[in-house]
Amino acid sequence: MATKASRSAARLMMAPAVVLLLGWMLVPLIMTLWFSFRKYLPLRGGDLGWAGFDNYVRFVTSSSFWPAVSATLIIVGGVLVITVCLGSLLAILLDQPMWGQGVVRILVIAPFFVMPTVSALVWKNMFMDPVNGILAHLWRFFGADPVSWLSEASMASIIMIVSWQWLPFATLILLTAIQSLDSEQLEAAEMDGAPVLKRFWFIILPHLSRAITIVILIQTIFLLSIFAEIFVTTGGAFGTRTLTYLIFQRVLESQNVGLGSAGGVYAIILANIVAIFLMRIVGKNLDA
């Protein structure tokens, strides 16, 4: 159907988006790669020449590297487990017949629309404050000593805050997937006497597996780069310094651009490994 003229018109219409994104991707990427091979300290002499792979070696051998890797993995892993498990249960619950389903859905989804700085600060102060926070009141009410959440249980607190933000996303996507399940299949299984647990395990879960994979991949990409939640709560202290935060500190706080850029390259490689899996799934979907 497409003629030669319409093909070249199409190319012209695509050009601005393609050129802009190409520039947005290539220019900073090449700069980061370049800096990562330089000894570059803007506040202490500027560009001090070629550094070879020094920055790459120093970034991984520094004492803060492995703690940052483990903090990142614990936060990403913890949030994924919580959001996917609770999200599946919540999606199944919301799919049941009930009164006021629309309103409950709105209540559950709401946290996703709260900006990260607000949710982090509200949790930090009004809930996790060891003197005046709601949790402290609750603890005292039951006769326990209030916990300084963000210093004594810093990782659990961050995971809690971020899970609260991302639970709506997982729930909403899994709910959408459940609703596309053919209810006749479930009814048939019920008539044949399959108990609730078996129905869940053999019918609902396999149907959800693709949606769960997508939730995991998309959340991983976003969670690898959480920033504001740590910035306004612990500032990277108490073992909550993730890879993203470590790079941010190297680049902007201590202005060691060469070292930070090498870290940036590691972060890009890590994100790309996850992205490849996501793109495969999305790509398959395009053909369908």
Binding site: A2, R11, M13, T32, L107, M115, N125, L172
Partner: protein, 276 residues
């Protein structure tokens, strides 16, 4: 639902779902309630739920002390500007990919998606440096452009999935009936595309409003939007729960309302059409 559901079961579902829903919503509700308390009431032990002296003074103080309106205006300009600019760039691109697909269309779409996967922190310094060199650090226009570029892949993808649902047969029928290209675009394609464009605008406005990496790192005073304004409350002086709540409520209220309208588009937009 063909099955009959017992009232008892339905009641149980309702109670359980409402309990969980209210629990999840509670931090937001608590923030809104606290914003109407005095500072002393905000930290009262036991916490006051509804029976306190409702006051609006926190809202007045926040506005007066920190010039809240300026941050709000920056957020509106940055989120609105980047969305508008993104739509202008993305509509022609998505349009041509949906209606004149070529062998490379799929590759281009996936490549665009891959740019979204680039971790922001990996390119933080280059962008920071470019902004300094161009003299646009703490500049609204710079943030409009940067947020547009960040969200462009999502905008193109969403528009593409919507446009692809417009059946090509309708265009052929119109052509058979003698419609010119101009009429075809004006009277047939545009009306069918507007709902999709509107959903895309909505979701991207929300994403840009809540963006908190570039807005925190590239602004100081002049261009700081609400995300940065709220972050300034992380080092408080004295009693401030009620004021923090008032500032937070004002920052999230507009987006909560917009967000509730966009629930369905959220799924499509954030899964790149993989779940509808």
């Amino acid at each position: 639902m063909a099955r009959a559901v017992t009232t008892q079961r339905k009641t149980l579902n309702t109670v359980l779902a409402w309990a969980v829903g209210l629990l999840i919503f509670f931090p937001i509700l608590w923030t809104i309630l606290t914003s109407f308390k005095t500072e002393a009431q905000a930290i009262n032990d036991p916490p006051l739920f509804l029976f306190f002296d409702w006051t609006l003074e926190n809202y007045a103080i926040v506005q007066e002390r920190s010039n809240y309106m300026r941050f709000l205006w920056n957020s509106v300009i940055i989120a609105g500007g980047s969305t508008l600019l993104g739509i202008i760039v993305a509509v022609p691109a998505a349009w041509s990919m949906a209606f004149v697909p070529s062998k490379r269309t799929k590759d281009i779409l996936l490549w665009m998606l891959s740019t979204k996967m680039l971790p922001a922190v990996g390119v933080l310094y280059p962008i920071y440096l470019i902004c300094i060199q161009l003299g646009v650090l703490d500049n609204r226009a710079a943030l409009v452009v940067i947020l547009m570029l960040i969200n462009l892949p999502i905008i193109v993808w969403m528009l593409y999935t919507y446009f692809r649902e417009i059946p090509g047969e309708i265009l052929e029928a119109a052509r058979m009936d003698g419609a010119t290209l101009k009429e075809e675009i004006l009277y047939i394609l545009t009306p069918m595309a507007i709902p999709g464009i509107a959903s895309t605008v909505l979701l991207n406005f929300i994403l840009a409003w809540n963006e908190a990496f570039w807005t925190l790192n590239l602004t100081a005073v002049d261009a700081a939007p609400l995300t940065a304004f709220i972050a300034s409350y992380s080092s408080p002086e004295g009693l401030f729960f009620a004021k923090l709540s008032a500032a937070s409520t004002m920052a999230i209220a507009p987006i909560l309302i917009l967000g509730w309208f966009s629930q369905k588009q959220l799924v499509r937009g954030l899964t790149f059409g993989a779940v509808k």
